[in-house]
Symmetry: C2
Subunit: 341 residues, 2 copies
């Protein structure tokens, strides 16, 4: 295992200078800095103060916004409940800000005493995960899937539950069912659209492309969605909305516009937590247990940390899929409404 002294020797400088480079202190010339960093990379240096072993698990968020959402909160809660009995501590890191320039993720993690990482990603930050996975550092990705198997990940399987949800609407007589998805193609949103398509085609219905509507996955997107649906000429009688916050916006704007859910419009939403119970009528939803996702991610991470992975080499990816499920509540009604009621 290379130490600062080895690097110092190889780069022809003192250990003090190596330390300065490693801690990004000023007053090191560019030339020396570059020489040290190449030596660091060649030797595959990892920090170990004293001989202390690393004792932290990192929750790495890659996007500025992804720390305050209920999904993240639930994942972190699940994670920390798993950590409690383990002796590891939880550390929250930002992928971009925590890392020094030219430093690999593995080096950054070891510098901070991190033994394994849970990476929270979005579709726009997938490359970060892939680069971590390539280094062979124990890491599990949550929040997005990696088809090519380039990274270990824990994900939800929501296609089947989405199919069931849309089937339920079809069973109730709805035919003009609009599907609402995010403006960017997160893999889980893609799944939900696929589930919608499955259900439609199962009945021999070719889904109208007009009926797949994209709005931002937040409350304002939901409000926008309702206004768009109201002005469509073949107005949908039911909505399948692939995001929890969008649903909240839908319920609010529907109320504002005097649309009665479920009598004027049936809505099936999505729920990570217990948001479905916060609206009236309680929202029929495809549900996912984000807390469980956190716990499972930690379980998988434990396995990865247990094996002494060869450094700088990715191991065969191991994944875990949690099933989403469909719950019928009060926001769906048969169509056409039985007027005798």
């Amino acid at each position: 295992m290379a130490s600062v002294r080895d690097i110092a020797k190889q780069a022809g400088v003192s250990t003090a200078t190596v330390s300065r480079v490693l801690n990004n202190q000023p007053s090191v010339s560019e030339a020396v800095k570059r020489r040290v960093l190449t030596a660091v990379n060649e030797t595959g240096y990892v920090q170990s103060i004293g001989r202390r072993s690393t004792g932290n698990i990192a929750y790495v968020y890659t996007d500025d916004s992804s720390l305050g959402s209920p999904f993240d909160a639930a994942v972190m809660t699940g994670l920390s409940s798993g950590l409690e009995s383990s002796g590891y501590d939880l550390m929250v890191l930002h992928a971009r800000h925590s890392r020094h320039p030219e430093e690999t993720f593995g080096q950054m993690f070891l510098r901070k005493g991190v033994a394994g990482a849970i990476i929270r990603t979005t579709v726009s930050t997938r490359h970060v995960c892939e680069s971590i996975a390539q280094e062979g550092f124990p890491a599990v990705v949550v929040g997005d899937r990696f088809e090519e198997g380039s990274a270990h990940h824990v994900e939800f399987e929501s296609r089947e539950a989405s199919r069931e949800a849309v089937s339920h609407l079809l069973d109730q007589g709805h035919r003009r069912i609009a599907m609402c998805t995010n403006v960017v193609d997160d893999t889980d949103h893609v799944d939900r659209v696929a589930g919608y398509m499955d259900a439609m085609r199962e009945r021999g219905l070719e889904p109208d492309h007009q009926h797949v509507i994209r709005v931002p996955a937040n409350r304002l997107g939901g409000e926008q969605l309702v206004r768009r649906v109201l002005t469509m000429k073949d107005r949908p009688t039911a909505l399948f909305v692939a995001d929890p916050f969008t649903c909240i916006g839908v319920f609010k704007e529907a109320r504002a516009q005097g649309i009665d859910i479920p009598n004027d419009l049936s809505v099936i939403g999505f729920d990570d937590s217990d948001l479905r119970y916060s609206v009236y009528p309680v929202m029929s939803s495809v549900c996912q247990d984000a807390g469980k996702l956190g716990r499972e991610a930690y379980t998988l991470l434990q396995q990865l940390m247990g094996e002494d992975a060869p450094p700088n080499q990715a191991t065969e990816p191991r994944n875990c899929r949690l099933r989403a499920w469909f719950e019928v509540h009060g926001s769906t009604a048969p169509y056409p409404l039985d007027s005798t009621e």
Copy 2:
């Protein structure tokens, strides 16, 4: 500054043994452990590897439930935004589970490389904060106030905004105004009740004690509240609800019971984040910026860490109060309703 070697000399043991005690490793006799710990306390030892100062800030939660709420999420987001530019990393610890038996909080923090702590408390875990404050370890409490000045804290001043809110209702003609507060007396809830009392007495109205209603501060509490209010004989015409989740429950159950907000019942709620926009009509609320609370807590903590506080001795408490403000939206209407509209 005392080092392990000083402690070793004072306790008459080797540095290896001191290190073992500090890291709570087994295979140290009780007698020696006690001797080392007294030496640690007498010298006011602080860890510094190499000569590096410790590099983590801890977010300490004292209650199992308090990690997933939007309030916590917002505080953590604010906190981590302040941390980004500072070089510190964020660590999440549980007060009870992270600490070894017989270990002081200061020792626990130092063992984990924590330079300062943000403590999230509830009324039931105040003693934890006081005990940390007594040790003189840099720590700032969020979520509750400490009248006696025993701990540094950052809090919201919501009494005045609450008074304004209730005054607004009185201006609109309401006289039977019910106040809803938590079943346990969190200091901020106490403030809000005080603001309610202020407004009533300002007009020479002696508040009816029947009108101060206690329900659990969550959605179900809000639902319960509505059902209770409906069965009161002098039914209130307006509600002032001191908790965001309770409000959500109120809006939901009101809708379920066919109560029209604001025409049948005016409601003023509370909002930590942007929950007020997720209901229809948008909720008139007393608002607090939880993210700012996190940032201010970090600013205060920075000050505390900057001063070399005398070890094991609490410094003069320094506090920060953030003003809550009142926002009028759509959930309030004059009483009696002007029927010409």
